[in-house]
Amino acid sequence: MVTPMTSQTTQLSAEQVGYLTAGPGRAAEAALARLIDAGLVRVSRDGLVTAVHSNNHGATTSVEARILSYSRTAVRFDTIVQSTANSTEMAQLHRHLLDRRLMQRPRRRHEAWWFSLAIAGGLVVLGFSTPAFFVGVPIALLFFAWQRGRGPVTKAGKEVLRPVSASDRVYAVALYGFCGKVGGHRVGDLFELSQSVVKMIPLKRQRARKSSSDGGGCGSASSCSSCGSGCGSSSSSCSSSSSSCSSSGSSCGGGGGCGGGGGGD
């Protein structure tokens, strides 16, 4: 169900643009943006995402279909973005982009990439006293270059991405994220989403807090093998499942109403 491309230069879908620009998380944001734009999903003031119930679900991609089914009952904005980013549907989109050679399997940056640089530097210093050591410098530098890894987006990928602009609010999300800005406006504002909602999504900046689980690479649970080199791994521990809605000690419940147990099935 991945949006088909009619020719090499055809427009990329917002999801694809999102993926090429910033990975599965952004692609999830873009898919969610498309659904909000189409009135298929509503977001509450405090960031509860709920699919708008209708007979015709209106999803145009498998990622969108997943979001709609996942948000049949309210789910937090960040939870749905995160879960969609890690979904098998998103992995399919990634595979599709790989097949079209818009992306490539990145080489992970080695944890010790800086170490080879240090060795090269050391050899240079040593080379001043013993010129024979210069021989090792190019080898160490090559090793360093290989260890630095390779980006996930191919030249072709960058090429098709270049003409894409924030022509509408959905593409604005694909390119800059809900937290980003376009033309001096907050992208979230274009969707009437408050900053407290869009800020639920962990930002790249948080990567400074490097957690032990980060290891050297980044790769998220599923498809984020695309993290090759410059990958921001925000290790913000996701806020579990808790939707801010309801629950309460109330006997009657969750969604808060008094409605009966549903189809009794």
């Binding site: 509450s44 309210a74 009437e192 809605c245 309801s246 006997s251 109403g257 549903g262 189809g263 009794g264």
Partner: protein
Amino acid sequence: MAGITDLGVGIGWRSEIDLTVERLPGVDFVEVVAENLHIGHLPESVTLLLERGIPVLPHAVSLSLGGADEVDLKRVQHLGEIAEAVGAPMVSDHVCFVRAGGLDSGHLMPVPRTKDALDVLVANVRLAQRNLPVPLALENVAALLEWPDGELSEGQFLAELVERTDCWLLVDVANLYANARNIGTDPERFLDEIPLERLAYVHVAGGEQHGDVYHDTHAHAVLPEVLGVLDELCSRVRPPGVLLERDDNYPSDTEIASELAAIRAVVDKHRG
């Protein structure tokens, strides 16, 4: 307080559809589930509605007034505090029990319509009333099963309750329809038997027929038959308010608006 003055047409406020409720045309009042609100931090949307002058009525689901145990005053107190926080003219809960024998059913269970059950209910309601700052309205529930050995009809049971506690009634026409379908009670007889002058307001909700059982899901469209029961009620009394309850599978704003419009059309038909 002499009755509740003209509430109009309203909708149950739920956090998932807060923006929808704010945007909908023709929402004269809203109801909030008291257990989902916390004193000190009312949802922004509820505050906004209050600022617009929209009445907000707390509706409780956990008092278990029909339960054998004495009513839990902590729950009553919370309901009262919410009422004060939103300046509500009235609060409500159901004629039901939710807890018994150390278990929680998670739902509103019907009480046996016996003298024992009525005496206990009356005692619990009186205790709750003494601890509430505003009048209490009680709602008829939808039942999937019938207790054996009922001594009174549902209408008689509620009439007795009103007589002895001076409480108000919140009549759920969808529940009347559900009971007619599922346990064969007669909505018209119910309406004949209850003291309609004590009607606070009316609930309308959607449901779904599943095999031979009608489920009062609050997650489906309102059936024309349910509007038919509302019509029947309106032919007897002008309800001070009618409120649409939707708790899940929220449709588009347009669809919700048209359900409200359909309700208003029934109410207005009898006003002319």
